[in-house]
């Protein structure tokens, strides 16, 4: 036998084997035709003919499989091409919708949720269900981003990741790399000040470098001062009601704390670098639009600002010192001390980008101005007293306005977002329930004939209902979810697009907190009340459905001729 003939016979054998394999898996409905075709293969005259015949057979097999699959898809879930499923008590119940219909509805819902807007909505709502806690997957995303930024030597992204990473060692590495690449990012030293889950204040050597780079800013001194005093200052201050002379003396005896606080109060600027953090966040988020809003905003939420109580305690120490000077008749020293406190408060209010810092700045000024007004009054300086009183009134008005606007009960935007958040969360729940019902219903109906042959008809009916209406609920939920999430999407877009600091920031926060309100019903103090409310509503809805269904059914039966 020549090599060529041997090769052909191997090919022919292979072709024959492939065809018989296909026949074994041929759909039942027309397997006879597969057998008929395969039986002819032994008649072929040459290896080429055998291969050609076999290929034709395999083509026919593919066509048969596809047409069987299509025919199967056109049937309702749970039925088979051999003529449906018969249960013990006669023909089994089957869903009304075909598999194709179900598949199309589920695919449409999935397509909507896979859209970039859908993915962002899912990420945000999922985060709100986890009470905006950074998850392990968020950590993974941040880690990947950090690795890429290291490779690309992207100082901005390195700083961004460093501010958000929960791994302090890794954060420190990234921070050093970012500052090494671009010293402009030295402000990150003062901004990574995580207080949860573990307190991680900025290291003293970082603050020393920051003070050297930004010597006229009060914030690096305030951050170091808090570490120099630590909780001891607060403890002494709050140990027993109003602070007494002994407490002030004890505080003043902490020379390191006093020195740093005096430098802070004497600094020309107050900048907690929040605006820089916001700008960096915007820049990175615009580039990495797939990042979860939680990952993006967690850095802003944990942005380090000086301890505000510590700052107020020093104001009290200074005011106490001024009171002592006034009592001793040294009005000039008293005025100087109070003016310094007042000036610091004004600087803090003007230089800060967060509401709380602005409010504390005003509170510090307010205290100093009150004392100044009293001082001028006792000294008979009426004009100065009136000026101090005017400042007091102005601060009071502005602080009231800000507090009023900040109160979610009064903010129209916050209220709007709360209402919309309810819709978003309801549709999200509908999506989850719909998807769960669809999966459970289809699985139960498909597996029923083999696995649960004697199951009660009620359960089978429930499975059919779930298989019929679950996918539709999922689709309705998905459309509603996306539509109701649009205002939140717009808030994110506006935040990414605009460069206006505080208002965008607050709008975004209103949006995020609005979404958090619903999960709080489930996890907060009133969780049991809300759970029972939901159960009661669900049971009432079910009862109504059963009653209406029963009424309609009995009417239909009555209308039918005997």
């Amino acid at each position: 036998m020549s090599m060529a003939t041997q090769g052909s016979s191997v090919t022919a054998r292979l072709a024959r084997w492939a065809l018989w394999c296909a026949v074994r898996h041929w759909p039942e409905q027309n397997r006879a035709w597969g057998l008929a075709l395969a039986a002819e293969i032994d008649e072929t005259a040459s290896a080429f003919e055998t291969v050609r015949w076999s290929l034709g057979g395999i083509m026919l097999f593919t066509r048969s499989v596809l047409s069987s699959a299509w025919a199967w898809m056109k049937l309702p879930a749970g039925s088979s091409l051999s003529g449906g499923v018969d249960g013990p008590g006669g023909p089994s119940l089957l869903p009304r919708r075909s598999r194709v219909f179900t598949a199309v509805v589920v695919a449409a819902a999935a397509a909507l949720l896979i859209l970039p807007e859908g993915r962002e909505a899912i990420r945000t709502v999922r985060s709100s269900w986890q009470e905006y806690r950074q998850s392990n997957s968020d950590d993974g995303t941040l880690n990947e981003l950090g690795v890429r930024a290291e490779r690309e030597k992207d100082a901005g992204t390195l700083a961004f990741v460093a501010l958000r990473s929960r791994d302090s060692r890794r954060a420190e590495d990234l921070m050093e790399r970012a500052i090494g690449l671009d010293p402009e990012f030295i402000w990150v030293y003062g901004s990574r000040n995580r207080s949860w889950p573990n307190s991680e204040p900025p290291k003293v050597q970082w603050l020393a470098r920051l003070q050297a780079a930004d010597p006229n800013n009060a914030v690096p001194y305030l951050l170091e001062a808090y570490q120099a005093a630590g909780p001891d200052v607060e403890k002494r201050y709050f140990g027993h009601g109003a602070p007494e002379d002994a407490d002030f003396e004890a505080l003043e005896s902490n020379s390191k704390w006093m020195e740093l606080m005096e430098r802070a109060y004497g600094s020309l600027r107050y900048d907690s670098y929040f605006q820089r953090d916001v700008q960096l966040t915007r820049k990175v988020w615009n580039r990495e639009t797939n990042l979860s809003p939680l990952v993006v905003l967690s850095g802003l939420w944990s942005h380090g600002i000086p301890n505000l109580l510590n700052l107020r305690i020093f104001a009290d120490v200074e005011i106490h010192e001024a009171q002592k000077a006034r009592a001793a008749g040294d009005l000039k020293r008293a005025e100087s001390l109070l003016n310094r406190v007042n000036t610091f408060g004004v600087r803090m209010t003007d230089g800060s980008e967060t509401r709380i810092e602005k409010l504390i700045g005003w509170a510090v000024s307010l205290k100093a101005d009150k004392e100044l007004a009293a001082l001028y009054s006792s000294a008979g300086k009426t004009e100065d007293e009136q000026r101090a009183m005017a400042r007091l009134n102005e601060i009071d008005e502005r602080a009231k306005e800000m507090r009023y606007a900040h109160n979610p009960a009064h903010s129209a935007t916050a209220l709007d977002f709360r209402k919309m958040a309810r819709l978003v969360q309801s549709f999200a729940i509908l999506c989850v329930v719909g998807a769960f019902a669809a999966i459970m219903g289809i699985l139960m109906v498909e597996l029923w004939p083999n696995r649960i042959p004697n199951a009660h008809a009620v359960w089978r009916k429930a499975a059919c209902l779930m298989a019929d209406y679950g996918p539709a609920a999922l689709l309705v939920g998905s459309v509603g979810f996306l539509m109701s999430f649009l205002p939140f999407q717009r808030a994110f877009e506006e935040y990414r697009a605009l460069s206006n600091g505080l208002p965008d920031q607050e709008r975004l926060m209103d949006a995020m907190w609005g979404l958090l309100e619903i999960p709080e019903y489930m996890t907060g103090a009133n969780a049991s009340v809300s759970t029972w409310t939901i159960i009661t509503i669900a049971l009432t809805a079910l009862l109504l459905f059963v009653l209406v269904h029963g009424f309609l059914h009995s009417r239909r039966t009555a209308e039918k001729p005997a």
Binding site: W33, A38, A39, R52
Partner: protein
């Protein structure tokens, strides 16, 4: 005439071959050889004709042990008339003409 269907050129070719030996049973492979139509096209045509009841089929027991039985085909009596009519119409409309060796 019974069921009028739209016939492809290959189907007309198969009908023409079956009509050439009206009462005789033919195997799939010999039909493929006579018409030059590959198996992947021939069998869907046979399946369609069978579904329309134009075709009679039967299994032929194998004479060689170990070999599977073979399938045989021929046109039914009424189908022969319809097939002739279809072929005539197709030829008149110049849609199809028989292969030269068969003409």
């Amino acid at each position: 005439m019974g069921v009028r269907i739209r016939l492809s050129k290959q189907t007309l070719q198969v009908l023409d071959t079956l009509l050439a030996r009206p009462g005789q049973w033919l195997h799939g492979y010999s039909l493929s050889q006579s018409t030059g139509i590959p198996s992947g096209t021939l069998y869907p045509i046979l399946m369609r004709l069978d579904k329309l009841h134009w075709l009679e089929t039967r299994w032929e027991e194998s004479k060689t042990p170990g070999r599977p039985p073979r399938h045989l085909y021929r046109l039914t009596g009424t189908a022969r008339e319809w097939a002739r009519e279809e072929i005539r119409v197709a030829q008149e409309q110049h849609f199809w003409k028989p292969a030269e060796h068969e003409a």
